[in-house]
Symmetry: C2
Subunit: 391 residues, 2 copies
C-alpha cells in the first residue's frame, strides 16, 4: 500500500507549494536593489503578522536563536526576571537567562494548567525589583495558551516599567498577537510554524519602546544575535549578515499566499477552526485533553492508557505515514499531539482523525467508529455557517 | 479558511513528489549514452507494468494518440473490427476506426452494465470475417471493468486469428494486465494515470505476435504514430522523435518509486484496496453505484437526487478544494466519480469521504454522520489484516 508522508506536528509544518517552488529556484545575490525590494515585501508581511509598525528582525537561526537575541539585546547580567514556565519551551527562557547570568525567578506551572494574571502579578510584586517578564503565548509541549495580553497588563499594574518578552513561535498565524497594541517589548516567531516555510529563519518584533530599549548601551556580549544590527540593516532593506536567501524567497511566496487567502487573520481563523474541530473529535472519542486552556496551534491528547502515547504516534506513522508528535520530557509517555497550524485543511484533519480512530480501536479503546470524524465535520460545518453569516 | 487543491479524478492523478522533483530539474540532451541508460531503465519498468517481454512504445501524446498509433499500426482501410463500447472511451475506438476507414461493428453496452465473453464472441461470429477486436479494460466514464482476458479468449475460440487491442489507460497500475500471457496484441497506457506523472506520455505494449503484425507492410498512412519507428528506436534505447524529456525523467523517478514500494503489484493492490473501501462507504451512506462491475480505478456513484451530480462535484471543490469528476455525456447530471489510482492513500480517501458526507447531508441526503468513513476504515483495516496474514 502507499503511504504519503504527512506532518501533523506543530513544526515543522506542511510547506506551502509556492514556498517550495520559491525555495527550489536559483539563489540570487542579496546585495542588490532587487533583493531589497523583496526584503521590503517580506517586512510588510511580517509587520502584518506581528501587528507592529516597526521593523521585524529576520534572523537566520532557529526559533531559539531569536529568543536568545531578544534576551541578550534587552537584558544584562544580574537583571532580575520572572519566567512563567508552563512546559519545556517556557523553561527555555529560564535556561537562556541563566546562561546570560540573569537572576531568574521561575514560576513553574503544572503542565496544561492555566495561570491567572493576578498570580503572575503577585509573584512579580513579591520578587521586586523585577526588570523583565518572559512569557509563552502557546506552550507547544502541552498545547496550552496563556493570555499574554492580560498577564502583561496585570504585571504592569504592579511593575510599570517591566520589559515583557513573549515566545510566540507557534502562536503567530495561529492566534492574534498584537505586539504594539499590547505593549509587548519583544515577540519571537519562526518560519517553520504557521508561515509554511522550511525551518531556518526566526523573527523578533518589538514595540516602539522595545526598539528603544534595544538601542540602549548594554554590557551583554553579543554580535550575531544583536538586534540593533538587524534594525539598522532593515532600514536599508537588508540583513546584517548573509541570510538564508532561499528561505527568504520561500517566505516571500508564503506571505503572498497568505495575502491571497485574505491575510494573517484568515490563517489564525483556520487554525482555530481546525483546533475546535479536533477537540470536538477528541470529546466524541472519549479522549481527554492534557490542557485546561487548549491552544489553537496544537492539541495535546492524553493516551487512553497512560504510557502508550509513543505507541500511538508510532502506529500512526507506521500504518498511515502520518507524523504526530509525542509528548516531551515527563509527558512523553502519556500524550500525543496533533498540530494544525499553517498549511493544514479540513481534509487533512478528517483524514488523520479517521486514521486515529482505527489505531485507537486496535489498541482496545472503545469508540463508535466514525464518531470522531463526524464530530469534527459538524464542528467545521458550524464554523463555515458562522463565517457565512458574519462574512 | 485554507483549502488545498486535491485531485480525486481518474486522471490526471496526484503526482508523486519524486516525479515532480525530476520534472522540475534541467532537461538534458537526449541523444547521449546517459539518456539511453535512463530510457532503458524506463523500458524495464514499463515492461513490468504491462507484463510484457517486448519493447513498450513511449509516445509523446495523450492516451488517445497511443490508441490511434495502435489502430493505425495494426489495421488498414476496410478491415472489419468489433468495438465493445461501454461508454465514452470504448466509443472512441469506434470513432478512430471510422476516421481510418475501418468497417466498425460497434457493440454498445448500457453504461455500467457488464458484458459476457459469450455475447462478444457471438457478435464476432455473426459479423465474420472480423479482423480486429477493440476492448476497454476499465471504462473511466462509468467506472466499470470488463474481463478482457476472458473476452479475448472466448473470441479467439470463434475467430482464432483476431487481433485484440485493449485500452488499459486507466487500468495499468490499477488492475493486473498481462499483455503477453493473455495474448493481447496491443495494450495502451498513459503516464497521467497510475504512473503518477503529468500528462504528455502514452504507451503501447504488444504481444510478440502484436509486434510481428506491426512489422507487416500496410497501406495505412502514418508517420509520427507508426509503432514500427518506436520499436526500432527502442532497440537502440531511443525514441524516434524528441520525446517529452522532462516527463520521461519524471516517469523514471516514478518507476523507481514504484519499485521501492514493492513493484506494480503493490500499486494495483493499493487501488483495489481503496476502491473496495470507497464502495463500502457508498453502501454505508445509502449511495448506489452506477456500475454492476465496479472498477478499482474509479468509483462512479449515482447522485442521491438524479440531476445533481455536478452540484455535488462543485460543492466538494468549492468547500473543500477536492476535485472529483462529474459524469460524461448523458451521465453527466446523474453521477459523480472518485478516482483512486496512483498516488492516493488511506488518509486521502478517509478525508474525502468525511467531506462528502457533509456535502450530501447539506443537500438533504439522510445519512448517519461518520458512517461512510467508518465503513471505509473498517474495509481498509480488513485489507491490512489480510495482507498481514498472507504476507
Amino acid at each position: 500500500m502507499l503511504k504519503k508522508p504527512r506532518l501533523f506536528t506543530a513544526g515543522p509544518t506542511p510547506l506551502h507549494p509556492e514556498a517550495i517552488r520559491a525555495a527550489a529556484g536559483p539563489v540570487p545575490y542579496h546585495r542588490t536593489p532587487e533583493f531589497e525590494a523583496r526584503f521590503d515585501r517580506v517586512q510588510t508581511g511580517l509587520r502584518a503578522a506581528f501587528r507592529t509598525q516597526g521593523p521585524v528582525a529576520v534572523l537566520t537561526t532557529s526559533g531559539t536563536g531569536a529568543m536568545e537575541a531578544a534576551l541578550a539585546s534587552l537584558f544584562a547580567f544580574d537583571d532580575r526576571v520572572v519566567v512563567v514556565a508552563g512546559g519545556k519551551f517556557g523553561a527555555r527562557w529560564g535556561e537562556i537567562g541563566t546562561a546570560y547570568g540573569l537572576d531568574v525567578v521561575e514560576m513553574t506551572i503544572e503542565p496544561g494548567q492555566p495561570v491567572t494574571p493576578a498570580e503572575v502579578a503577585t509573584l512579580v510584586e513579591r520578587s521586586a525589583p523585577v526588570r523583565g517578564l518572559f512569557l509563552t503565548a502557546s506552550e507547544t509541549s502541552t498545547g496550552t495558551i496563556y493570555d499574554v495580553r492580560a498577564i502583561a497588563d496585570a504585571v504592569r499594574d504592579v511593575e510599570p516599567g517591566i520589559v515583557t518578552v513573549v515566545d510566540a513561535i507557534t502562536s503567530v498565524g495561529a492566534l492574534p498577537i498584537a505586539t504594539d497594541d499590547w505593549g509587548l517589548d519583544a515577540v519571537v516567531g519562526g518560519a517553520q510554524k504557521a508561515f509554511m516555510v522550511p525551518p531556518g529563519l526566526a523573527f523578533v518584533a518589538c514595540s516602539p519602546r522595545g526598539w528603544e530599549l534595544v538601542g540602549n548601551e548594554s554590557a551583554t556580549p553579543r554580535y550575531y544575535l544583536d538586534l540593533r544590527k538587524y534594525a539598522a540593516s532593515a532600514k536599508k532593506s537588508q540583513t546584517p549578515f548573509t541570510p538564508g536567501i532561499g528561505l527568504l524567497l520561500a517566505l516571500e511566496a508564503a506571505l503572498d499566499a497568505i495575502d491571497e487567502v485574505g491575510g494573517i487573520g484568515v490563517l489564525e481563523d483556520n487554525a482555530d477552526r481546525l483546533a475546535t474541530a479536533c477537540r470536538a473529535a477528541a470529546a466524541a472519542l472519549d479522549l481527554e485533553l492534557l490542557s485546561a486552556a487548549p491552544s489553537p496551534a496544537v492539541t495535546a491528547i492524553k493516551a487512553p492508557v497512560p504510557g502508550t502515547g509513543p505507541e500511538i504516534v508510532a502506529a500512526m506513522l507506521d500504518r498511515h505515514g502520518a507524523q504526530l508528535s509525542a509528548g516531551q520530557g515527563e509527558l512523553k509517555p502519556h500524550i500525543f499531539r496533533i498540530g494544525h497550524i499553517g498549511y493544514v485543511d479540513d481534509l487533512d484533519l478528517l483524514g488523520v482523525l479517521g486514521a486515529l480512530e482505527g489505531v485507537l480501536a486496535d489498541r482496545g479503546h472503545a469508540v463508535t467508529a466514525g464518531a470522531g470524524v463526524a464530530a469534527a465535520a459538524a464542528s467545521l460545518a458550524a464554523a463555515r455557517a458562522q463565517e457565512g453569516s458574519s462574512g
